[in-house]
């Protein structure tokens, strides 16, 4: 066999890496490693210039393997892989070493140790690279069907966008009616649009499309498969379970209003109600003569630190509605910061103040007090701006409680095999640049299941998720990354440990023609998690790109170089 020809490229990442790691020293060190033909360093390996330099080096030095020591594979691996491909090197002969997140950022104040650590990680990468094998991606078809879970505003927006593109779409809603929380809300601020017009329009669009299948009073009870080829079990209240095959899935399961039981007399004094309870009253035309809104009830407090984003705007909207219905009404909003971000919301804030709504700022140290006063309620608040305590009597006290995740969110997340954050909101693939995607391919997220959002934002997110979900369907095929597991029938004793360990039902025990029983992996179902490899007692299960020989070589390289440092 020919000796591997490895090129190592160490990235400065401007000063991000070079401020802690002596990049030139690491490159010099890399030159001493086995099979390394060339080692260089670049200011920005990911810039067009840096990528061009790597391609030129591949050509000039006839490299057949490339190691880049830079930042994170999460954002940059596809770029460097494609760059290798462009220079004629199979992209699976590329190895990424992270010396930014794993070294320079966390050891910013220990440059000597950081440089040593970077060297060891590079040595490990090189050791693995020497043993890499070229791999080919397999392609699999995409079932041209999308499933949207949740028929609130975000799900409706997603489903209507999909059917309008001509994509067959199943919409699953747990309630007997579509619309979600908005069913209780008559108008949407700050533009005061009638909710019915929005919801009815979308429901009509979906209902009139032959491509749409609406499953009411139904829940998803199981999801198996992978991008392009999911199978979803839908269980309706009064029907047998139904299996749906789909290429992509959108999660739009929404949130719920936190119940402020015991806060400011809620549950004890009938006049103390939640925002959603007020919405229902206003929808019926029951306008109070006076109202005090208390913002941030159960939000921005220790234990639930977040701001629920839309509550200030909801209170402003309802305050305006009350003032318009009853111009003599006394309405106050007690807040800790008014969150009317943007253009129209800020205008509505001004509008409310002009209509006579009083805004008072309270602090966490001096919460408003709500008491009974005859048939009415009495509120005392220390207004920070006036530096004075103000008392007022009122018909209703409206508690603006935050939106929290739905009760069964953890079960749902388990079923979908996607993460939730510590609060229970779904965690997108990247908070900045992949807001409507999960890290799991083919599954997308929108609406308040991800984070409290305004109606307009939910609609946008639904559309965005629909765009993403339509792409594999439009393309008709998806690529499967060859990091899948495979078993050696000779070594396998058919114990079944791997079958148990696999979260994706990708492994089964089969019998060969010769009568030997062994574990077999369905490649299309395998996600490359490696659980089965760890569970195998006999070294029979291996994973492409992460096999035992490769990982052992990495550990050997680490020990060898670590010993040299100690000596």
């Amino acid at each position: 066999m020919l000796m591997p020809r490895i090129g190592v490229f160490i990235c400065h990442c401007g000063h991000n890496i070079a401020s802690a790691v002596d990049v030139e020293k690491v490159a010099e060190f890399a030159k001493t490693l086995p099979d390394v033909v060339v080692a260089a360093h670049n200011m920005y390996s990911c810039s067009e210039e840096g990528l061009g330099a790597i391609r030129r080096s591949i050509e000039e030095n006839k490299l057949d393997r490339v190691v880049v020591a830079a930042c994170t594979p999460r954002t940059h691996e596809p770029l460097f892989r494609r760059n290798c491909e462009r220079a004629g090197v199979n992209k699976y002969l590329f190895e990424f070493v992270n010396i930014r997140e794993h070294v320079s950022w966390i050891h910013a104040k220990e440059p000597l140790a950081a440089t040593e650590k970077a060297k060891m990680l590079v040595a490990m990468g090189v050791a693995k690279a020497a043993l890499l094998q070229p791999q080919e991606e397999t392609e699999s078809g995409v079932i041209p069907v999308a499933v949207v879970i949740g028929g609130g505003i975000a799900g409706l927006s997603a489903a209507s966008a999909l059917v309008s593109q001509g994509i067959e779409t199943h919409l699953i809603e747990k309630e007997p009616q579509l619309g979600g929380i908005l069913k209780d809300i008559a108008v949407i601020g700050p533009e005061m649009v009638k909710t019915k017009e929005i919801i009815d329009g979308m429901v009509k669009e979906i209902g009139s499309s032959p491509k749409a299948h609406v499953h009411l009073s139904s829940r998803m009870t199981e999801l198996t498969g992978f991008v392009g080829n999911f199978e979803i079990t839908v269980t309706a209240a009064d029907k047998c379970a139904e299996k749906i095959k789909a290429g992509t899935v959108i999660v739009a399961t929404g949130g719920q209003e936190w119940s402020p039981q015991g806060e400011f007399g809620y549950g004890k004094m009938p006049g103390v109600i939640t925002q959603l309870e007020l919405e229902r009253r206003l929808a019926k035309g029951e306008f109070p003569d006076s109202a005090v809104f208390i913002q941030c009830v159960g939000a921005r407090v220790p234990g639930r630190e977040y701001c629920s984003r839309f509550c200030c705007n909801a209170s402003i909207k309802n305050a305006i509605r009350i003032m318009e219905a009853r111009p003599e009404a006394q309405v106050s909003i007690l807040h800790r910061d008014i969150m009317s971000y943007g253009t129209t919301a800020e205008r509505a804030y001004h509008d409310a103040a002009e209509k006579g709504v009083r805004f008072m700022r309270y602090g966490l140290e001096s919460l408003p007090k709500v008491d009974k006063l005859g048939d009415n309620l009495h509120v005392d608040v220390y207004d920070e701006t006036l530096d004075d305590t103000i008392g007022m009597s009122t018909d209703v006290v409206v508690l603006a409680a935050p939106m929290v995740p739905i009760d069964n969110v953890k079960d749902l997340a388990m079923m979908l095999k996607v993460p939730v954050d510590k609060l229970g909101f779904f965690l997108e693939a990247h908070v900045k640049l992949r807001p409507v995607e999960f890290a799991t391919e083919g599954i997308f997220i929108c609406g308040t299941a991800r984070w409290p959002s305004s109606v307009s934002e939910c609609i946008s997110q639904g559309l965005g998720a629909a765009a993403k979900a339509s792409i594999p369907i439009r393309r008709g095929k998806v690529k499967i990354e060859p990091i899948t597991a495979y078993s050696d029938p000779e070594k396998c004793i058919a114990c079944g440990n791997c079958v148990q360990a696999c979260p994706y039902q990708a492994i089964e025990i089969v019998t060969s023609k010769e009568g030997k029983r062994y574990a077999q992996v369905t490649e299309a179902k395998c996600k490359g998690c490696g659980n089965c490899v760890a569970a195998c007692h006999n070294d029979a299960m291996q994973q492409k790109g992460f096999n035992t020989t490769q990982l052992s070589a990495m550990i050997d390289a680490l020990i060898k170089n670590a010993l040299e440092v100690v000596q």
Binding site: E305, G342, V436, A467, K468
Partner: protein
């Protein structure tokens, strides 16, 4: 034949819209007025609330755009006119002369070293200079230089020619002319973004009067490891590290005399910049003067708490009335009303102050509105009157995403970009897939 879509604006919203439309199979023409795509996000040091390095996460998307089989980049280009109606628009794209044969330019940068003319760098917000022939920033896409005709001596005075002499690729072409190309597009996506307002119009905030008053984008460059100070936090007057730092929120926004609206992102980037300042200069004492601390996104409140607890950032709920230079011309004196005192005014001295200016619709937006016939809202942002379709403009077949429609942060702009792609797909391929 693939349907063609023209995306106007090569910031993060335009980039994402182009990528999604390209992935859907449309032929995308991405038009950017400056020499590189990337927009304002390329200028940022880090992004809130994760402090991800901005260009590090953006640059792969920029390169994906350039490499995409369905995306054609038109940088240093403008929309000259749009005629016709959905789905038969005729779009005139003016590819401005960059006086470079881009098929030959390798981006080696030899010319930029030798060029004798210095011009304030737009990318560095005027804190340092670029040359008359320049690459806006090292990760620029495409990596092709541009000659700034207004400053080039060869073009203005017919003398110099240094760049042509040093260019081994023979890429310099002083006689190049603008090129206008016509695209038959089925739809347009407007992602023209924002510009920071000119804060010198508000002299009470001291910009251009007190040397140590900078804008937040300038401060972003000062913090950036690749910026003019190499990431060292220093103030302009004497190049020393400030010990006290003030952020002024709502400069020109939430102001009846200027812009009524809230720019949506300033509270968070000021918090981010204050955390980064603390990382660069652990002893700096930072105060943020604000009206309402609008931290409404995922983990934003926690981010503010982190600024307070781990970096000692002081949040002062007050709107300063005046910023002026200290006696020796260094530092800044800030007058503000003390909260809860019934109007007592305090004067406090800071080593440096950062203004968070209103973010306005991009300067190109009004001309774009004219050429497309799109209506704008009272604040000058493109109107999107249909709540059911939040990215639809006032003309069928033209959608708007990102800051061009209303102030928003990066994830919201990225989301809207995907929404725009979905709406284009709906409009064009409605009924058949």
């Amino acid at each position: 034949m693939k349907d063609k879509v023209v995306v106007v604006g090569g910031g993060i919203a335009g980039i994402q819209a182009a990528l999604d439309l390209g992935d859907m199979g449309f032929e995308v023409h991405l038009v950017e007025k400056s020499p590189s795509i990337g927009g304002h996000m390329a200028q940022l040091d880090k992004t809130f609330p994760t402090n991800d390095c901005s260009l590090c996460i953006l640059s792969p998307k920029m390169i994906m755009c350039a490499d995409h089989e369905n995306i054609k980049l038109h940088t240093y280009s403008e929309i000259d006119g749009v005629s016709g109606d959905f789905p038969h628009f005729k779009v005139k794209i003016r590819e401005k002369a960059r006086y470079i044969d881009i098929s030959r330019c390798t981006g080696c940068g030899d010319c930029t070293v030798k060029c004798p003319v210095k011009v304030p760098s737009e990318y560095e917000e005027g804190l340092t200079n670029r040359k008359a022939i320049y690459l806006p920033f090292p990760q620029a896409v495409p990596r092709k230089v541009t000659i700034d005709a207004a400053h080039c001596r060869m073009i203005t005075q017919k003398k110099c020619g240094v760049c042509k002499k040093v260019c081994q690729a023979g890429a310099i072409d002083y006689d190049q002319k603008d090129k206008v190309i016509d695209i038959d597009a089925s739809a347009l996506v407007i992602a023209s973004g924002y510009d920071q307002m000119d804060v010198s119009l508000l002299p009470q905030f001291g910009f251009g009067i007190a040397k140590d008053v900078v804008t937040s984008l300038q401060f972003e460059r000062i913090l950036s490891a690749s910026g003019p100070t190499g990431g060292h936090l220093v103030r302009p007057s004497d190049g020393t590290e400030p010990k006290t730092l003030a952020f002024i929120q709502c400069v020109g926004s939430r102001d009846a005399k200027c812009h009524v609206y809230c720019s949506s992102v300033c509270c968070m980037y000021a918090t981010k910049e204050s955390i980064l300042a603390g990382e660069h200069a652990p002893n700096v004492k930072t105060s943020i003067f604000y009206m309402d601390m609008r931290a409404v996104g995922k983990n934003f409140q926690e981010f503010v708490q982190r600024a307070k607890k781990s970096y000692g950032v002081r949040y002062v709920q007050s709107r300063p009335a005046k910023l002026q230079p200290s006696k020796d011309g260094k530092g800044v004196l800030i007058n503000y009303e003390k909260k809860g005192t019934g109007g007592d005014v305090a004067q406090e001295e800071f080593d440096m102050a950062v203004l968070c200016p209103a973010l306005e619709p991009s300067k190109s937006a009004s001309r774009l509105a004219e050429s497309t016939g799109l209506k704008v809202d009272p604040d000058g942002f493109f109107a999107t009157p249909d709540l059911k379709h939040p990215v639809d403009s006032t003309s069928k077949g033209i959608v708007v995403c990102g800051f061009a429609s209303t102030p928003m942060d990066i994830p919201d702009a990225v989301t809207q970009a995907s929404s725009a792609a979905a709406r284009v797909a709906e409009m064009i391929s409605g009924g058949g897939c």
